[in-house]
Each structure stands twice: as C-alpha cells, then as structure tokens.
C-alpha cells in the first residue's frame, strides 16, 4: 500500500526481525541457574573435606584383628606400570598364571594403569579420601612425596608379616626396612631401578655420558625428557653439583633455570611412561629412561645404549601397597608373599631387567635360567663407584614445601 512505510531502513528491519535478548530471557536463565546453584550450594556448603585427620583414624586400628576379619575371595585387581611383569608374546603373564594355579586366586592385572606417579596418585586420592574403594586391591607406588602422603593419611593397610613367610625369608636386606618405610610396614618392594639416559647410537653422532652432553647444539630437537618433576630436578641438580638430599629453594631455582635455558631448547617433548613407545618407534633418538625399560629391549634394538649419567642419577624403589579400602586385601597379600620367592621373582626379573628385592634372584637367573646377559650385566648391576652417584628423590617437609617445589619445576615441562 502506498501509505505503508515500504522503505524501512536496514536498522528498522533488523529491529523488527532479529530476536534479541529480552529481560524475560535473562530472568529465565538467572532463575534456572539460581535453582541449580542453590541445590549445589547445599551440597557444597560443607566444602571438601581435608585429609589431615584421616591418619589418626588409621593409627588406631588393630591390624591383626583387621587382617583376621578378611577372607580370601578368590580374585583381586592389580594396578601396575607398563612392561613391569613378565609377558609372553601373546600377552599372557606366566607368573600370574602360576599364582592362580597354586592358590586358585585370579588376578585382574591392569597393565599401564600407572603411567605417572603424580597422576595416578591424583586419580586414587579422591576416592581414598572419601573412604571408597579405588578399584584396585594392589598398586605399585614409587617412594617419594605421594608415598609419604599415602602412609601419613592412613590410606594403605599395614602389612601383616606373620602372613608373609616368604617375605621374611627371602627379602633383600634393603627391602626389609627401607629408609622411606621403616620395617616395611606399609609396603613391599616390587622393583628397584635407576633413571638414566638412553639413545640410539645409530641415529646420533658421538657418545653421551652425562646430562650436560644433552645440551650440545647438534642434539637440537633430538632429546626427550620425562615429565616427572623429581627426575628433572635431580638431573639438573646433579649437573650443578648440588646434593639433592640437602637442596634448598635456591638450588631448585638455579636447577630450573639451567633446565629452561640450557636443556629445554634441545627437547622435543616431555613424556610420561609413553617415552618408551616414542623411543622404540625411533621418534626421538635420546631420552631420559628407566634402566630396565631400555635393557629389556636391547635384544630388539642392539644399537640402543643406556648410560648412567656421570654427574648423578636417581635410584628409586617401586613398592606394592594395599589400599585400606581394598575389597580383596588378603588375596593381594597372598600374591605379595608368593612373589617373594626366588623362582617367581627371577621369572619376572629376567623379563624386565630391573633390580629385584628378593635375595638369590641374580644367582637363580645365572644358574637356572642361564641368562648371563642379565646376571653379568654392568648396567643391570652397576659397580659401587657408579652407584655412589645415585640419589633418592628429595624429601619434602610438608605440602607447602612440596607446592613450592612443583611450582618451580612445572613451567619447565608445560612451557610458557
């Protein structure tokens, strides 16, 4: 029609046709959020419980009664690191099968459930703090901050040595009462190992003997490091000549600086357990590596070398622990004791090439399994002068110190 405003401006057209955010929309949205928020607030008003007091509860348990009340259920679940038990070509585990044959207890073995100490601890601690089962009845935890936390919070069961005759008979003196777990009350050593440098000698020029060598310009983009902050800290402190056991905040800052300015430019990636896959796929020629991982693959990769860095390196102990909320603790305990026999431990060791906590394993492998590659290997059993440079992870006083330590080394891994 002639009189109608047939020449609307663009703005008017937009105003007439476009939906807009009205007050009603805002009210609706706000209303929904408030309702949900109120409900959530009720749940959250108490906040999240702290764990400071849980240790006291555990300290008051009578452990012999506790164990007496447990029954053998015929199965248990075992969380472990990758490549940390004997495995056949098709994926079966002979020692676990022998265990099942002898005791009738089935093992649900979760290979590679643990890829990184801190991440695994972070995964299980919310459930433990809530007093709930974590799913595994046995897991392997490295000595260090997380280990101490587990013990102090009373989240792991104390082991009943009366039920572990093999342990008492065959455990290595270092495993009977380790420095981090007096009298081995809370754990039983699974393996001992070292972290050093591994490299494909056919992919790089020259030999590597220490951490400082990794900063050479010709290795740009060829180095892979572990993302484990303890490992990085000890490597860098060793280069700077600092004793990790007595290091201070100042030392940590200097070490982190060295890592960021000298070593990080050559690094292509920071790995957790996945470094091994990258190394085997020849994705990265030089890696910070666990000793047994590399020694065990040398038959497939004859040109792969493992060295103990001349400046210093870490020695660590991985320990079997039973969570206090486990559903099948007695079955797990039976396995621990079964493992501490030379024949069983030797079968595992011959495959994974770490250092066994069971006496007589080295001899057993040399005599019965006739694998002198392992028993005579200077890399599996380094001489005393090399071992003198081995360090344990630094011990943190409390969470504040631990948080400071991680905040100093974290940016090295995550970048900026």
């Amino acid at each position: 029609m002639r009189n109608s405003p047939d020449h609307l401006t663009a703005a008017q057209l937009r105003g007439l046709t476009q939906p807009r955010l009205t007050r009603r929309d805002l009210f609706r949205g706000a209303g929904a959020l408030t309702c949900a928020g109120a409900l959530a607030g009720v749940l959250d008003a108490c906040g999240i419980q702290g764990t400071n007091n849980s240790g006291e509860a555990a300290a008051s348990i009578n452990w012999s009664t506790w164990w007496a009340s447990k029954k053998v259920n015929g199965h248990f679940s075992f969380d472990n690191w990758a490549e940390y038990i004997d495995v056949t070509k098709h994926g079966k585990h002979p020692t676990l099968e022998r265990f099942t044959a002898k005791t009738g207890i089935k093992v649900a073995y979760n290979d590679a459930a643990v890829a990184d100490v801190a991440t695994y601890y972070g995964k299980i601690s919310p459930s433990l703090a809530a007093g709930k089962p974590i799913g595994a009845d046995l897991f392997v935890m490295t000595n260090g901050w997380q280990f101490t936390e587990l013990v102090q919070h009373g989240w792991v069961a104390q082991l009943d040595h009366a039920r572990m005759p093999n342990f008492l008979k065959y455990a290595d003196p270092t495993a009977v009462s380790p420095s981090y777990d007096f009298d081995a009350l809370h754990s039983a050593v699974w393996q001992t190992g070292y972290t050093g440098i591994a490299y494909h000698s056919d992919m790089i020029e020259g030999d590597i003997t220490g951490w400082a060598d990794l900063t050479k310009p010709e290795y740009h983009g060829k180095v892979g490091l572990l993302s484990d902050l303890d490992e990085l800290a000890i490597a860098s402190m060793s280069v700077l000549g600092v004793q990790p056991e007595t290091s201070t905040e100042d030392d940590w800052r200097k070490a982190a600086d060295w890592l960021t300015s000298k070593l990080r430019p050559n690094v292509t990636k920071f790995y957790d357990q996945g470094y091994l896959d990258a190394f085997k796929a020849k994705q990265v020629p030089i890696v910070m590596a666990y000793s047994g991982d590399v020694l065990a693959i040398q038959s497939d990769f004859p040109k792969a070398k493992f060295v103990f860095p001349r400046e210093g390196f870490t020695v660590w102990h991985d320990n079997m622990m039973i969570p206090i909320t486990a559903r099948n603790p007695l079955d797990a305990l039976t396995w621990i004791d079964f493992y501490y026999q030379p024949s069983i431990a030797a079968t595992v060791e011959d495959y994974i090439w770490y250092v066994s906590p069971v006496t007589g394993v080295r001899q057993y492998i040399a005599d019965e399994l006739q694998d002198t590659d392992y028993s005579d290997s200077p890399l599996a059993f380094p001489p005393a002068d090399v071992l003198a440079k081995a360090h344990l992870y630094p011990i943190m006083k409390d969470r504040t110190e631990h948080d400071l330590y991680t905040s100093i080394f974290q940016p090295v891994v995550q970048g900026s």
């Binding site: 990758a82 098709h90 649900a108 459930a113 919310p126 085997k280």
Partner: protein, 282 residues
Amino acid sequence: MTTSVREPWVANAPLAPGEIPDRRPRPRPALPIFYWIVVGFLLIPIVAMVAYSVNGASRNAITPVWKGFTFTWYAHLFDVEGIGDAFFTSILVAVLSGTLSIVIGLPMAMALARHRFWGRGLISSLLFADIAAPSIVVGSSSLAFFLSLNLSMGLGTILIVHVAFNIAYVVAALRARLSGMGTQLEQAAGDLGAGPFVAFWKVTLPLLVPGLLAAFLLAFALSIDDYVITSFINGSRQTFPLFAYGFTKKGMAPQVLCFGTIVFVVAAIVAVLTGLLNRRRL
C-alpha cells in the same frame, strides 16, 4: 517507408532424432576427486591398523616395520589381560545408554517439537548447554559430584554420565525428525477415533523407526568412543578406549588392533547390507 518485417523466429521443423546434438553435461571431476582423496586420507590409519593386526612381531607390541604376515594375534585375541572385559563393558554401556537415552529423550523430543509451553526455551537451553559443555569440564565436575554423594565409581556412574550427555543428542536428532513429520497423520488417526496413546503407538512410533535407529546409532557411537569423561568416573571398570589409551604409553598390543579391525569389518558389512536394502527400496 517500407518497414522491414521482422519474421518471428521459428524453427523450420523439429529436430530429427539423428540431429539432436549430443550434449552431455560437462564432466566436472574436481569434486569427486576431492571426495575420494578425503576418503583415502580417512582410511590411512584404518589401513595401518589392519596391516599391523596381521604383522608379525617378537613381542606383544606392534612395530612400524613389516615383519611378515600372521594371524596369530587373532588366534590369541583374549590373551591380553582385560581386553575382553573392556570391550564387553564398552558395548554394554553403549547399548544400555543408547536405549535409556531414547526412552528418556523421545518423550522430551515430542514435548519440544509438538507443544508450545512455558519452559520450552529453558529446556532447549539446557539441552544446548549439555551439548556445548566441554568433556573435561563435565568429567571433572561429575567426579566431584559423585564423590560428594558417596557413590562408588564403576559401571553405574559410567552409565549415568553417558545417558546424561546422550540425551541431548538424541533429542536433537528426534526433534528434527518429528517437526519434519508434521502432525497430520496423528490428527487423522484422532479423527478416526484413536486416543493419543494409541495414535502414538500405532502411527507415530512406526513412522519414527528410522529416526529412532539413527538416534540410537548416534548415541551408541558417542558412548562407545568416549574417553575423557569416562576417564574421570570409571573407577576400576575399564572401557575399551580407556584400555587402549594405556597401551599408547607402552606400545600398542596387536590384539587391540584386532578388535578395532573386527569392529570396522562388522560396521562395513552392516553398512553394505543397509545400502543394499535401501537400494532395493528405492
């Protein structure tokens, strides 16, 4: 003045069949070539997976180098500890969460597509938020929530969360179908004396079957492939993606790839069969 007469243009005669010029549409190969390149690119890892599943290796880990053809991994498919359980759990969760999300989502889709009511926008926003929330946010908040409720992580929690995120996708898929379908047929059924329930059961539902199937497949696929959310709330219960992720740390076991190949082959067979059925119908 003579005006020239413009003769109307008229063809002298219709073209004889032999004179019709042979005009085929100009071949435009760019798009089909692009399509096949993309399909090829998509298939590269699949081909690698199948190849590695029949590649011999001395250890229980694949190697990039070809070492000879072997079926031994298929023969020892279940030797890898936990692989059967993980696969079964994944299928179970996918089927259950797909079914449950349809049972819950279909009425919701009907309400949204067919009725105008106060709160419709709100519910749509809720569903939008459900799709839009990043997996990592959903996973971490669900874990904290379940712990505050004192629940144990396991199959139940996995199922709960999978249904929660599947509902939005199912409703989206069904709602589109329903609004496309229109209400004429139900109205006709009503005219013929059918009550609302009967109309739904005998008219709407049969028509909706392909839509339900598509929604179920969507929910099934999303559930079976979920990693991030499930990694927070699974407790000790392994699903296949979680199980496979552990192997990315230490070297993929060939049997995992065998399972992947089997799934792929089954999906391919189903796809071919439905393709044949569709063509028969067309």
